[in-house]
Amino acid sequence: MIKINDLHKSYKMGNSSLHVLKGIDFEVAEGELVAIMGSSGSGKSTLLNIIGMLDIANSGVYELDEVPIKDLDETKAAQYRNKFLGFVFQSFNLINYKSALENVALPLYYQGIKRKERQQKSLDYLEKVGLKDWATHLPNELSGGQKQRVAIARALASQPKVLLADEPTGALDTTTSYEVMDLIQKINEEGKTILVVTHEHDIAKMCKRIVTLKDGVIVQDKKVNQELASKYV
C-alpha cells in the first residue's frame, strides 16, 4: 500500500539546514496497523506529514497504492488527500461551528457527493463510532473522546485507502485513549490500513507492528503481538 525508498527531508533554518529524515526505507502492506514511535525530534511527524502529502520530501520515492506521489501542486495534493487519505489529529481539528454530522460530511462535500447521500453516509459513520445520537451537537458539546471519535468518522467518511493518526490519544486520558484505540483496532479489523504516530508504549503495543525512528532513521521495525484495547475498556 505504501512504498517509501531512501526518503530525505531537510528544513532550512536560516543559514544552516536541519536534516530531519536521513534516508527512510519503509513499506506498509494493506490491512496493517503500524505504530510509528520515537522521541520528539526523531522525525516521526515529518514522515507522517510526507505520507499525508501535507509536506514534500527533498528526495526519494513515495508510492501510495502504486501511484507515485511526486510533483504535487497544492490542488493535486488536496485531491489526493481527499481521495486516498483520512486524517486524525491530536487536537481533533473539528470545525467548531459545524455539528458533528456536518463535520463528518465535509470531506464528502469536497468529493462532490450530493447532499442527501452525504448526510446518509455521514450518519452511517457516526453510528459506526457510536455517536449517532450526537449528530446535531456542536464539538464543544462533546467530550474529548467523543470529539476524537467524530474526527475518526470524518476521516473514514471519504473511504480512504490509508488512515493517518497523529498522536490520536495525545489529548485524552487513559480510559478514553483505550476506547479510541479500541475503535481504531476495530476499523483495522475491517481491513483498513492505519498508521499511528505515538510516543506512548501502551498505545504502540495495541498496533500490529512498531517502527521506531531515531534522529531521522529507522532504528527498529518489528511485528508485535497486538494487545486488545477492549480488555481495558
Binding site: L54, E74, A78, S91, L94, L106, P107, Y110, Q111, G112
Partner: protein, 425 residues
C-alpha cells in the same frame, strides 16, 4: 473528482451560509459598514432627486428662458437729459425689440392696476357682491410665456378679443368664489370692472409658485385696458421669452441696449431698466441641482467603498482566526481554488446582503421624508426616487469591490500551507 459549477450549487451556498450564520458577531459587524454606506448613498441620491423634482414642479408653469423687464430711473445724464429721469416703456417698443433682437421669441407687454401703482386694486362688482382685484391688461402672446391653467369650459383671450377691444375677462378661482354662488357657472356672466361690464369667458387656476400672480387676478385684453384706464401707448413691463437655444443672459443685455437707444438713455446706464431673469435663476438652480446630485453620488460611492474595505478588513482578520479551520479543510481535500472561492463568495455575499438591507432601509427613510414633506408647499421636495441605474450601478460597484477586496483575504487564506495551519500548539 467531480468539479461542480460552484456559483449555482446549492451546497456552495449552504457552506457559505453556514460559515456566515454561525459567526454572527463577525457577520453583523461586517455588514454594518456596507449597510451604512449604501443607506447613505440611497438616502442622499434619493433626496437629491426629490429636490430635483421639487424644483421642476415649482417651475413647471414657467418658460424658464424668460424674463421681466421694466423701466426705472436713469443714473447718467445723456443727450441733454439729466440723470434721474424715468423712461416710459411704450407699446411700439415691443415691435422694435422683436425686430432688433431675433432671439426674442415672444414679447408680451403688460399693464396692471392695483399691483405696483400703490393704489387700491379696482373695485369689481357683481350684483350685491363687490371686491377689489388686481386687473391685468394682456396680449394673447402672454400664455406662450407663462401658461395659465384655464378651467374646463372657459378660454383665454384670443387675437380677436385684442383686435376688437372686446370687454371680456378671465377671472381667478378666488374671484369666482367671492363674486359667484357655489354652484353658479361664471362663464358667460357679466361683472362690472371700474364701472364697465365685462363678460367672463374663462377661469384660471394659479399655481402658488408663479411669482406675484395670484388666484384673484383678472385678465382683460390690453387694448381694452388701455381704453378703460386711458394708458395710451404706455406699458408697465414686458414679459419676454427667448428662443430655446438662445442664451437668456445675452438676450437680456441686447434688449436693454435696444431700449436704451429708443429711450435716449446713456449706453452704459445699467440702472435705467430693471429686469428679473428667470433663465439666469434657473441656470443657477440647475447648477445647484447638478452639484447636489454629483455630491450625493460621490459621497455615497465613497461611503460604499469605505464599507466594502471594512468587509475586506474584517475578512482578513477572520481568515487569520480561521487559519486552523481552513487548514483542516485543506487537509481533508479542499483545493486552494475552493478555499479561495469560499472566502470570495463570503465577501460578495456579505456585501450584497448588506447592500440589499441598506437599499430597503434607505427606501423606508425616503418614503418617510416624502410623507413628512408632502404638505410643505414651499419646500421643494417631491417624489424622492433613486433611478434604477443608480441602484444597479451601486450593486455593481459593491459586487466588484467585494470581489476585489475579497481577493486579499482569499489569497491570504490560500497562501497558508495546511501543514503550517495545523501545526499550532
Amino acid at each position: 473528482m467531480s468539479r461542480r459549477n460552484i456559483l449555482f450549487d446549492r451546497d456552495t451556498w449552504q457552506e457559505i451560509f453556514g460559515s456566515i450564520s454561525k459567526n454572527k458577531t463577525r457577520t453583523i459587524i461586517t455588514v454594518i459598514g456596507v449597510l451604512w454606506g449604501i443607506f447613505i448613498y440611497i438616502t442622499l441620491s434619493g433626496s437629491a432627486k426629490g429636490m430635483d423634482n421639487g424644483f421642476d414642479k415649482a417651475f413647471e408653469n414657467v418658460a424658464i428662458n424668460s424674463m421681466f423687464l421694466w423701466a426705472q430711473r436713469t443714473s447718467l445724464p445723456y443727450d441733454g437729459f439729466k440723470s434721474g429721469r424715468s423712461p416710459q416703456l411704450k407699446l411700439q417698443d415691443a415691435e422694435y425689440i422683436k425686430k432688433r433682437v431675433p432671439s426674442v421669441e415672444f414679447i408680451a407687454p403688460r399693464n396692471t392696476r392695483g399691483l405696483f401703482d400703490g393704489g387700491q386694486p379696482p373695485i369689481v362688482v357683481r350684483g350685491s357682491k363687490t371686491g377689489n382685484y388686481t386687473i391685468y391688461g394682456d396680449t394673447p402672446e402672454y400664455v406662450n410665456i407663462f401658461p395659465l391653467k384655464i378651467f374646463e369650459g372657459g378660454r383665454y383671450l384670443n387675437t380677436d378679443d385684442y383686435k376688437y377691444e372686446r370687454k371680456i375677462c378671465i377671472i381667478g378661482e378666488r374671484t369666482k368664489s367671492e363674486l359667484f354662488e357655489k354652484e353658479e357657472d361664471p362663464i358667460g356672466a357679466y361683472i362690472n370692472i371700474s364701472g364697465i361690464y365685462f363678460q367672463v369667458v374663462g377661469m384660471h387656476k394659479t399655481s402658488d409658485e408663479g411669482g406675484f400672480a395670484s388666484d384673484s387676478d383678472i385678465y382683460i385684453p390690453l387694448s381694452t385696458f388701455r381704453r378703460l384706464y386711458n394708458t395710451g401707448q404706455d406699458v408697465d413691463w414686458f414679459t419676454i421669452a427667448a428662443s430655446d437655444d438662445a442664451d437668456v443672459v445675452a438676450v437680456e443685455k441686447q434688449v436693454k441696449q435696444v431700449l436704451r437707444r429708443i429711450h435716449r438713455v446713456h449706453p452704459d446706464d445699467e440702472r435705467a431698466f430693471g429686469s428679473f431673469n428667470l433663465g439666469e435663476i434657473w441656470n443657477r438652480i440647475i447648477g445647484f441641482k447638478d452639484g447636489l446630485t454629483l455630491m450625493s453620488l460621490i459621497v455615497g460611492i465613497a461611503t460604499i467603498i469605505a464599507g466594502v474595505i471594512g468587509i475586506g478588513n474584517i475578512l482578513l482578520i477572520s481568515v487569520k482566526e480561521r487559519t486552523k479551520e481552513l487548514g483542516v479543510r485543506r487537509a481533508i481535500g479542499a483545493t486552494p481554488s475552493e478555499v479561495r472561492k469560499q472566502i470570495l463568495l463570503e465577501s460578495v455575499f456579505l456585501t450584497l446582503l448588506a447592500g440589499i438591507i441598506g437599499i430597503i432601509l434607505g427606501a423606508f427613510v425616503l418614503a418617510g421624508i416624502n410623507a413628512g414633506t408632502a404638505n410643505l408647499d414651499d419646500f421643494p421636495f417631491t417624489n424622492p426616487t433613486v433611478p434604477p441605474s443608480y441602484i444597479i450601478g451601486a450593486l455593481f460597484t459593491m459586487i466588484s469591490m467585494g470581489v476585489l477586496i475579497g481577493l486579499i483575504p482569499a489569497q491570504r487564506a490560500v497562501s497558508i500551507k495546511p501543514i503550517d495551519a495545523l501545526r499550532e500548539e
